[in-house]
Symmetry: C3
Subunit: 248 residues, 3 copies
Amino acid sequence: MKQIITLATDFGIKDSYAGIMKGVILSINPDAKILDITHLVSHQNIFEGAIVISEAYKYFPKGTIHIGIVDPGVGSKRKPILIETDRYFFIGPDNGLFSLALKKERIKKAVHLTNKKYFLKDVSSTFHGRDIFAPVAAHLSLGKKPDSFGKPLNTRPQLIDMPEPIKKRGSIIGEVIYIDSFGNLIIIKRIRIKGISKTYVDGKKGLPIAVIGSSGNLEIACYADSASEILQIKQGEKVEVDIIQNLW
Amino acid sequence: MKQIITLATDFGIKDSYAGIMKGVILSINPDAKILDITHLVSHQNIFEGAIVISEAYKYFPKGTIHIGIVDPGVGSKRKPILIETDRYFFIGPDNGLFSLALKKERIKKAVHLTNKKYFLKDVSSTFHGRDIFAPVAAHLSLGKKPDSFGKPLNTRPQLIDMPEPIKKRGSIIGEVIYIDSFGNLIIIKRIRIKGISKTYVDGKKGLPIAVIGSSGNLEIACYADSASEILQIKQGEKVEVDIIQNLW
Amino acid sequence: MKQIITLATDFGIKDSYAGIMKGVILSINPDAKILDITHLVSHQNIFEGAIVISEAYKYFPKGTIHIGIVDPGVGSKRKPILIETDRYFFIGPDNGLFSLALKKERIKKAVHLTNKKYFLKDVSSTFHGRDIFAPVAAHLSLGKKPDSFGKPLNTRPQLIDMPEPIKKRGSIIGEVIYIDSFGNLIIIKRIRIKGISKTYVDGKKGLPIAVIGSSGNLEIACYADSASEILQIKQGEKVEVDIIQNLW
């Protein structure tokens, strides 16, 4: 079956970890269509992984199986899980990695992966991506029912908190939740910005502007430059944005 | 339809931008075969993107759809375009990104993408890759005619200038147009080099040699080392190469 | 034919080299399924490439064609080869790149690639990946017999030496053969470590632990940290590990 399986991990792309997972999947379902969301989530940064997954998952066709692995607790008691929603499947560790995506989905079924029949023969304590998540995703892509893979999860899937921006008068106080590779800050020290711009091009080189980004969040950007470097702001910093000529 | 769609962008590979585009394409045409040329064009460096695309596009099968996105003008007045040549399709911003490739192709049709029917519902002003280029490519891969996507482009596609090397006597004056990840300089300060070598191995470690590279351009390389670091030369620098024992 | 072809190279992912190879393959066999193991083997580090390939190849389905390219000798007298084993095909330079994998496989056939009929028309002296290895792999994936591509290799495939760890009393003396992107050292200066841990999580932040990694090698890791940085150990360093409370 030509099911789509996506991968979002912190494995990096130098090592063969992601390639090994693809080999395991194709050994079980040679017709699976495997796509990388990213393998460059900052190592063991569950929050960042949750953001990346919540941005991307919803653009894939109904029925897509999303594997997410940012798993500092691998081999410990954290549970390997499979979540089925109305439109998608999510497979990975139960540590909040899917929680931002799940906020927007209706959960139909949550399974604790315990059925070793669908794991690789010798499950290591360090690489569940290869030994559990990849084979489970592959068997699921062949039509196996979610129930086959274990027992119902007896708790709610783990959640992580997402800092919400506070609006007061013409000002927004938020936290930089993500800095993309262009250096655009995705919500944000105290900065005065003139209105909300429509495009990046509206800015002069080196002057920060505010844009509603493609994911619907407030973004501070510098045209043809890195806002992160120019404003000296790091991920997680609290920032107040004054929109002087308020357009909201 | 199993059409091939390639992606060459400056999106980087940490963020989910490229993955999102793939999701959009597969939601429209689940059978599309999507291949990455690169997502690591230097941010907003149209010239570099044009080189990468012109090197790679021609090795793909006839009918391949090439999406190119290095788009500092996204959301401004620059036009989104679709170019059909005898053998390929090119989709992206009209800013010269395809001009080096188009020099070698015969243009059959140039379309200004204006038909919102084939865009995502809400077109952002910051991510046309997701909202315009990916869906247009996907519909094209399903057999839609180029004309369906808009109106004829009423100007010639934008061009960028490519610095041409000047040969005089035993010397070549050129500009470093590209430095690959091995540190090989692709055309080039004043360096004296003995003849044109046939292979990289002809060089001694640390001594620069000249090679006609796999793309037919002059390359300055250092065997098992980075010519860029050893000669302290950056992209765009003007360089004179003396081929002492001229073989040309 | 939907044959799987994998790529493991030191090409990097900024340049279009890997993308070009994929174009060449698909121009010959549009149905080939191409998967990246990695393109980030350290430039011209055959040893590292051999490790990566030997870790990953065996997880792919029987019949998979593995292309490996870390090729400092490209264009010199080193031979381009095709090795058929009971389960797989390996295509690349005869420089030891496949030797760690071949130790675990039974070689059925070793072919020196000399038949230009299956190469690209003009074979460059710098890019055999595009001109020889990609087209040979593509024709092989269409069902051509290994014999078609050249003559029997008249020597044994090149080998590289793999440093073996020495166990003496409660101590293991080894060499760091690989450092993964998490900074985990894969066999290893003199370090005292208390027993063999089962999971990474068993460690306290900043304290090294020993784990039998997912590939069966001894790994020194630091929970939620880089052992490579904390212990200041580089790849290739000789290291003695004292397992104090010996569990082996």
